[in-house]
Amino acid sequence: MIHEQLKIISKQLIAKDTVEMTFRGRMAQEKILPGQFLHLLVGEGTNHMLRRPISIAGVDRQASTITIIFKLLGEGTNTLAKAAPGDQLDALGPCGQGYPVDDLQLEKALLVGGGIGVPPLYYLAQCLKRKGVHVTMVAGFQNKAQVFYENQFRLLGNYYLATDDGSAGEKGFVTDIINAEKLDFDQYFTCGPTGMLKAVSTQLSNQEGFISIEQRMGCGIGACFACVVPAPDSANGYKKICKDGPVFRAKEVVLT
């Protein structure tokens, strides 16, 4: 993990309230696993005492760029979105533990993402594909206006889309698609709202899988104990999401 002023080189709205931002910086030369995140300083002065964690959605080592995708939710993300190409953002990263792509032994991967849980899975899909793994992506969004990266995912493997209101893809949840399509895979990888993570990991409880969890963070580096999650089989009984996660083996932690 390093601390760097990342220079914004592009910014665009890719779906309703959804911003894709690309930075240039030497951080792109670090070893970065999908699922790892940036911990971003917001604004100036004392308005925002806490950084914002945003997953890394893409890395281009050659161009030395890192891409993130974030949803405009509150004051922090709205302030981030005001920064323009040429501006610098103060970032800590890559933070936490990502999906252990190098160590994985598998042929077919199922990726299940909901909303702002989709971005890290795009970088994961790229890494898996590079490894020769066959990727199936199931993406869930609230509605059509929220959908992003459909084409990008389709280039990497199978792609299924669900929206809550049926305005794009199937009407329903990602779990409905997994059910209906009887998807075949060795391991699954999921990221999204806690409700979805619970549903997916329950549905797939017989399979090996990884989940990525969100929690409100203080330090983002493991020092403040803000972001713990119960991990009954671990030495201490808990894991820190910012440092030991956000990616965990599905059975390692207890979603609350």
């Binding site: 993990m1 300083l41 004392t46 925002h48 800590l92 929690q215 203080g218 493991g222 403040c224 713990v228």
Partner: protein, 311 residues
């Protein structure tokens, strides 16, 4: 410029130390910079046995501040001594152990054990954690109890004892005087103010614990006021804290009467804030006419009448 300050047990290269709970046991920040740069380090609270703490969410952002309700999560004093302290022995920065408990017996047990560890140079007696039902806050709001627990810990501690005061009291000077009467070697203030944020979307307090502790720049005026008031009733050295994020803030605390200054929340906003403050402090001291750090301590009182409005 000479930034060194000398407090009971703590021989500090400079007056800056991370505040308890905001710096873990040092390991994470050690990956970012050399801990030898720091004047001292306060480690996370230790209790008699391991505590899991409160449910999540445990933090929320507020204007110029944050709320936390960690709930004294820690692996317990024995494991801290075995697993965490050896790493800190690699540094020549003095370590202050923050000691918490639910009963006088627990405070005594933890203090007795941890004060005997060679890296521990002082104890910060946390009688002010607002985030646990039985976390000792009653010791921090009742002067008689404050005196009793201080005396009990002093009796067993082999290192100087700083009592960490809660700002959630009608009269901070009464608690400060009680700690002094109990034999405290120094005082540490302020801990967090109790606060709450309500999540409009789900209509409940955002923190799982409902109530949390408010820290950060928002509380600095309260902290400065309390350090200033406490300075007027006791000569005990004070470790001041609450909202510090710049070298100017540090000078403000020194003027108010602190001999050393702790930095908490600001570490989250700027992980390098402590070494940066240390680097900037000489220029700031010089700008305001001081030749070293010690000279500034308490200088905000020289123009002051001795009579203060009771608040």
């Amino acid at each position: 410029m000479n930034l060194a300050v000398q407090l009971p047990g703590l021989t500090m290269k400079n007056p800056i130390l991370p505040a308890s709970g905001c710096f873990g046991f040092g390991k994470e920040y050690a990956e970012l910079y050399d801990l030898n740069l720091l004047g001292a380090i306060t480690i996370k609270a230790a209790t008699g046995t391991a505590r899991y703490g409160n449910a999540t969410p445990r933090v929320a952002e507020t204007d110029a501040g944050m709320l936390n309700a960690i709930g004294l999560q820690n692996p317990g004093v024995n494991q801290i001594m075995e697993q965490e302290l050896p790493f800190l022995a690699n540094y020549d920065t003095p370590i202050m152990a923050n000691v918490a408990g639910s009963t006088i017996e627990e405070y005594v047990e933890v203090a007795q054990k941890i004060s005997r560890h060679p890296v521990i140079k002082a104890i910060e007696l946390n009688i002010s954690c607002p985030n646990v039902k039985e976390g000792g806050v009653q010791f921090g709001t009742d002067p008689a109890l404050a005196q009793t627990v201080t005396a009990a810990v002093k009796e067993v501690s082999t290192v100087p004892v700083y009592v960490k005061l809660s700002p959630n009291v009608t009269d901070i000077t009464a608690i400060a005087s009680a700690a002094e009467a109990g034999g405290a070697d120094g005082l540490s203030l302020i801990n967090t103010l109790t606060g709450m944020q309500i999540n409009l979307a789900n209509r409940r307090p955002l923190l799982a614990n409902k109530i949390g502790g408010l820290s950060g720049p928002a509380v600095k005026p309260v902290a400065i006021r309390m350090v200033y008031q406490v300075r007027q009733v006791t000569d005990l050295p004070i470790i001041g804290m609450g909202g510090v994020r710049t070298a100017e803030d540090v000078l403000e605390f020194l003027l108010a009467g602190a001999s050393a200054v702790a930095v908490g929340t600001a570490n989250f906003q700027h992980p390098f804030v402590c070494p940066e403050i240390i680097q900037q402090l000489p220029a700031v001291l010089e700008k305001y006419g001081f030749a070293n750090a010690v000279e500034a301590i308490g200088k905000g009182h020289e123009h002051a009448n001795t009579h203060l409005s009771r608040t």
